[in-house]
C-alpha cells in the first residue's frame, strides 16, 4: 500500500459539515422571528392607529383568555397529577396515562366539536360559546401540559420529605398544600407556561368563538385591513409574550431539576383515599378524559359518519399527507443538525438550540408573518419575483421547519445519546468506512428515536393551522384549512370529517407518550 495514496487528512472536513448545517439551521429558525422584530420597529406610515387599537384589544383578549383558560388548565392538571402521583383510588393506574389523551386534539378541533355539540342541532343543554366557551376548551384541552410536568415533579419528590411530614401528623390535604405543592411548584410553573403559550398562539378556536386576541388580530390586520406592517407589529407583541412564557418555562425547568435530586429515593408512599374522596378523584379524572377527549372525539365521529363528504375531504387529506411528509424530511434534517451540534456544546450548537427554541415558542401566525415579510423584502430588493405557488410552498416549509425543529431535537438527542464514541471507534478499527458506520451502526441505533421524532413532527405539521392558512398556495387546502373554512361558514357538520382525521392522527404520538408514561410511572425508576 503506498503511503501517499493511503493517507487521509483526519481533521477539518467532518467537523465543518455539522457546524455549517447548524449555522444554516440557526438562520432558518431565527430569521422569521428576527424579521418580525426588525420590521415592527421600522417606520411604517400606513395604519398606525388601527394597529394600535387592534393591538390593545388583542392584548387584552389574550390576557383574559390566558387567565381564565390557563387558570383552569393549571387547576385541572395539577390536581390530576397530585391524585395519580400521591393517592390510591380506583382506576389510578389507567388514568395515569389516559389523562394525556386530550393533547391529541388541537384547540380548534375541540372548539368545532363543542360548537356543533352545543348549538347546531347538538345535544348539549349548555352552549359552549364566546369567551367562556374558549376558556373551557383551553382548560380541558391543555391541562395535560400541566399534568405531565407536575406529575414528573411529584414523582421525583423525595419520599423522605413526604414521610417526614406524615410522621409529624400532617394529613393528605395539608401535605399537598404545605409540602408536595411547594416542592412541585417549579414543575407546575413550567407546564403552565407551555399551556399559556399554546393559548396565546391559538388562532382557530379564538377565531371560531369570535374573540379578539393577538392571534386573531394579526389575521384581521392582514386580511381585513391589508396591512402587512400592522400585522407585523401585532406579531411582534405576540412574539414578545411567547418569549416571556418561554423564559418562565426554562427558568422553572432549571429549578425543577434540583427538586428531585435526593440520593435516598424510594417509591412514593401513596395515600389510600377513603370511599368518598376516592369516588370524587375517580369522577374527576373520568370527567377530564371525557371532556378533553372522549366526548368531542365521539361527537366528531358521529357527525363524520352522518355527514362526511369524502370527495371533498380526500384531496385535502392527500395535500396534508404530502405537505407533512415533505415537511418532516426537511425539519428532521434541520433538527438532526441542531441536535448533533448541540451535543458538542459549541457556540454554534448553543445558538442553534436557542433559535429553535425561539421558533417553537413563537406562534405559527407570527412565524408565517415573518416569512411573509422576508419574502416581500426579497421581492422589493428584486431577488425574487411574485409569491407564486412554488415560492409559497417554500415559505410554508421554511415556516414549518422554523416552528417545529425544536420538537424534533429532543428525541433525536436521545437517540444520539445512545451512540458512544467508543462504538464509532470500534467500527473503525474493524475496518468500517464512514458510510458503513452510518448505515450499520448510527442509523439502526438511532432509528427508534428518529422514528419518534418523525411521527411527532408529522402530526405537528398536519395539525398546523394559522401558518398554513397564511402561506398556502391559492386553492391548496389541507385538512386543517378545510376544517377551518367549513367551520367559518358555519358548516360544522361538514367540518367534522377533517377535524376527526386530525384528531385521530394526533392520537398516534400521544399513544407513544402514554406508553412511555406507563414505563416511567412514579415508584418505578
Amino acid at each position: 500500500m503506498s503511503v501517499a495514496t493511503a493517507h487521509t487528512r483526519t481533521r477539518g472536513v467532518q467537523i465543518d459539515g455539522v457546524a455549517v448545517a447548524a449555522a444554516l439551521a440557526t438562520f432558518v429558525c431565527a430569521a422569521p422571528a428576527i424579521a418580525v422584530i426588525a420590521l415592527a420597529f421600522a417606520p411604517g406610515a400606513e395604519g398606525a392607529t388601527f394597529a394600535g387599537d387592534l393591538l390593545r384589544d388583542g392584548a387584552l383578549g389574550t390576557l383574559a383568555l390566558v387567565l381564565a383558560g390557563g387558570g383552569g388548565a393549571i387547576v385541572f392538571g395539577a390536581t390530576a397529577a397530585w391524585f395519580v402521583s400521591l393517592c390510591r383510588f380506583p382506576g389510578r393506574g389507567v388514568f395515569e396515562w389516559l389523562l394525556v389523551i386530550p393533547l391529541a386534539a388541537p384547540s380548534y378541533v375541540l372548539a368545532y366539536s363543542y360548537a356543533s355539540f352545543s348549538w347546531a342541532g347538538g345535544w348539549s343543554p349548555i352552549e359552549v360559546r364566546g369567551f367562556w366557551g374558549a376558556a373551557f376548551v383551553y382548560a380541558v384541552g391543555l391541562y395535560p401540559y400541566v399534568y405531565l410536568s407536575a406529575r414528573a415533579a411529584f414523582a421525583s419528590q423525595s419520599a423522605c420529605a413526604l414521610e417526614a411530614a406524615r410522621s409529624l401528623g400532617v394529613g393528605p390535604l395539608k401535605l399537598f398544600w404545605r409540602v408536595a405543592l411547594p416542592l412541585a411548584r417549579p414543575g407546575i410553573v413550567a407546564g403552565a407556561a407551555l399551556a399559556l403559550m399554546e393559548i396565546a398562539a391559538d388562532y382557530g378556536a379564538a377565531q371560531h368563538f369570535g374573540l379578539t386576541t393577538l392571534s386573531t388580530a394579526i389575521f384581521r390586520a392582514w386580511y381585513a385591513h391589508q396591512s402587512l406592517h400592522g400585522a407585523i407589529q401585532i406579531s411582534a407583541a405576540l412574539l414578545l409574550a411567547a418569549l416571556v412564557f418561554l423564559m418562565i418555562e426554562r427558568r422553572a425547568r432549571g429549578r425543577a431539576a434540583y427538586g428531585g435530586g435526593s440520593s435516598r429515593w424510594r417509591p412514593l408512599p401513596r395515600y389510600q383515599l377513603s370511599a368518598l374522596p376516592a369516588a370524587l378523584a375517580t369522577i374527576f379524572c373520568i370527567a377530564l378524559i371525557v371532556f378533553g377527549a372522549i366526548l368531542p372525539l365521539a361527537w366528531l365521529a358521529r357527525l363524520a359518519w352522518l355527514h362526511a363528504n369524502i370527495g371533498d375531504v380526500a384531496p385535502a387529506l392527500i395535500n396534508s399527507l404530502v405537505l407533512a411528509a415533505v415537511g418532516v424530511v426537511l425539519t428532521l434534517a434541520l433538527a438532526a443538525a441542531i441536535a448533533s451540534a448541540a451535543r458538542r456544546s459549541t457556540n454554534i450548537g448553543k445558538a442553534s438550540l436557542f433559535a429553535a427554541g425561539m421558533g417553537y415558542a413563537a406562534p405559527g401566525a407570527v412565524i408565517a408573518m415573518g416569512a411573509l415579510a422576508m419574502f416581500s423584502l426579497a421581492r422589493e430588493w428584486g431577488w425574487i419575483g411574485g409569491l407564486g405557488s412554488a415560492l409559497a410552498l417554500f415559505a410554508l416549509f421554511w415556516t414549518y421547519a422554523a416552528r417545529f425543529a425544536a420538537a424534533g431535537v429532543g428525541p433525536i438527542d436521545a437517540g444520539l445519546a445512545r451512540l458512544s464514541k467508543g462504538l464509532d471507534a470500534s467500527a473503525r478499527t474493524l475496518g468500517a468506512g464512514p458510510w458503513r458506520r452510518f448505515a450499520e451502526i448510527d442509523l439502526p441505533i438511532a432509528m427508534p428515536s428518529l422514528a419518534a421524532a418523525a411521527l411527532i413532527l408529522f402530526v405537528e405539521i398536519l395539525k398546523e393551522l394559522p401558518a398554513t392558512l397564511i402561506l398556502r398556495p391559492f386553492n391548496f387546502d389541507t385538512l386543517a384549512v378545510k376544517a377551518y373554512s367549513y367551520a367559518s361558514d358555519e358548516r360544522l357538520l361538514e367540518a367534522a370529517a377533517p377535524a376527526l382525521l386530525i384528531f385521530l392522527a394526533g392520537l398516534a404520538p400521544i399513544v407513544l407518550l402514554a406508553r412511555s408514561i406507563d414505563r416511567t410511572r412514579a415508584g418505578a425508576r
Partner: protein, 337 residues
C-alpha cells in the same frame, strides 16, 4: 503479525502535552504492556496507534509502513489494527455472533457466519452466539470484544485496560484465557493497564510511563530487578524511599546501608527499597508499629530514628515489638537525586 513502532511521538490536548517524545517498539508476536497511572498517556498511545488521533511530531510504523506522521494519518479503518475498548463498546443492536462478524464483511455470508462461530468457540462462548450485549455478563462481553477484534486477523491488537471492570477472581482467570488466545494466534499485542501485577504476569515486554514520558522499556524481570529510575521502581510495587548522602560508596538508612558504588561520595541520592526486599527477624532495635494481613503476606510498618517503612513478610510470622532488619540488595536501588 507485525512489529509496531513509535519514534519520537508527541501529542498534546488543549496546549498541555499528553505525550513527550515517546519511543517504543512492540516486536512481532509479543505482548507489550503499557503500565502507568491514569493521565500517564498510555491510552493516548493506543489511540494514536489505532489512528483515532493524529501525531504532532514523530512517526508510527506498522511492519515498516508509515501510518502516522505529522499532517498525515492513515485512516483507522485502513490500518488493520484491532482494538478492545475499556467499556468493550459492543454494538448494542447486534447479537454476539453479528458483533464478531462485523469486521469480516469481506467474506461471503456463509463463510463469515462460520468464522464468527469459530471465534466464539475459541473464547468459549459459542452457546451465547445469539445473545445481545445487554444479556451478557462483563466477562462475557470482554471475551466477545476480544473475539470481535481478533476475527479479522489484525496486524496488531490493542487492549485498553482489558481487565479493569472485572472482579478479582474473574480477572485472573480472564487474563490467563486472554493470554492463551493471544499466544495461540501469535498476534502482536499492546495492552494498557495501571495494575503492576497484570503487567508483570501478562507481558513479554513492559513499557513504564509517567506523565507522558517513557520511564523504562524492558522485559518484566529486568524492569523489576533493574529499574531505570525511582519512579520506574515505584511503578512495579510498593517501595520505601529514603533521601541521603553517599558515604563510603553506600547510602546509609536507619534500617541499614545500601551499596551505591556507582555514585560519587558526598553527592545526595535517593534510595528505593521494595517492601518485599526487607527481611525482619525478631529481637532488634527497630520498633514494629503495626501488622496487617496483605494477601499471602503481612504488611508490617516499622519505625527507626523517626523514619517509617513498610515491609511485606510471610504471613503470621511471630515478630514481637521490635525486630532487626536486613535489606536484600536485589530489591534496593540508589539513584542520584
Amino acid at each position: 503479525m507485525s512489529t509496531v513502532s513509535l519514534q519520537g511521538v508527541r501529542r498534546s490536548y488543549d496546549k498541555t502535552l499528553a505525550l513527550h517524545d515517546v519511543t517504543l517498539t512492540a516486536p512481532e508476536g509479543q505482548v507489550v504492556a503499557l503500565l502507568g497511572p491514569s493521565g500517564s498517556g498510555k491510552s493516548t498511545i493506543l489511540r494514536l496507534i489505532a489512528g483515532l488521533e493524529s501525531v504532532e511530531a514523530g512517526e508510527i510504523r506498522i511492519n515498516g509502513e508509515l501510518v502516522s506522521a505529522p499532517g498525515s494519518t492513515l485512516a483507522t479503518e485502513q490500518r488493520r489494527v484491532g482494538m478492545v475498548f475499556q467499556d468493550y463498546s459492543l454494538f448494542p443492536h447486534l447479537n454476539a455472533a453479528a458483533n464478531v462478524a462485523f469486521g469480516l464483511d469481506k467474506l461471503g455470508r456463509a463463510e463469515r457466519d462460520e468464522a464468527a462461530l469459530r471465534w466464539l468457540d475459541r473464547v468459549g462462548l459459542k452457546h451465547r452466539a445469539s445473545a445481545y450485549p445487554h444479556e451478557l455478563s462483563g466477562g462475557e462481553q470482554q471475551r466477545i470484544a476480544l473475539a470481535r477484534a481478533l476475527a479479522p486477523q489484525p496486524r496488531a491488537i490493542l487492549l485498553d485496560e482489558p481487565f479493569s471492570g472485572l472482579d478479582a477472581v474473574l480477572r485472573a482467570e480472564l487474563r490467563d484465557a486472554t493470554l492463551a488466545t493471544l499466544a495461540e494466534t501469535r498476534t502482536t499485542t499492546i495492552f494498557v493497564t495501571h495494575d503492576a501485577e497484570d503487567a508483570l504476569q501478562a507481558a513479554d515486554r513492559l513499557v513504564i510511563l509517567k506523565a507522558g514520558r517513557v520511564l523504562q522499556e524492558a522485559a518484566p524481570r529486568e524492569a523489576y530487578d533493574r529499574p531505570a529510575s525511582l519512579d520506574a521502581a515505584a511503578a512495579l510495587g510498593p517501595v520505601n524511599i529514603y533521601k541521603g548522602e553517599i558515604t563510603n560508596g553506600a547510602l546509609q538508612t536507619p534500617f541499614g546501608d545500601i551499596n551505591a558504588a556507582h555514585l560519587t561520595n558526598g553527592t545526595s541520592a535517593q534510595a528505593a527499597v521494595r517492601a518485599e526486599a526487607l527481611t525482619l527477624t525478631p529481637n532488634g532495635s527497630t520498633r514494629v508499629i503495626s501488622v496487617r494481613p496483605h494477601g499471602a503476606h503481612d504488611l508490617v510498618k516499622i519505625e527507626s530514628q523517626g523514619v517509617t517503612w513498610r515491609a511485606l513478610v510471610p504471613a503470621r510470622m511471630p515478630l514481637g515489638d521490635a525486630v532487626s532488619v536486613t535489606i536484600q540488595p536485589a530489591g534496593a536501588f540508589v539513584f542520584s537525586a
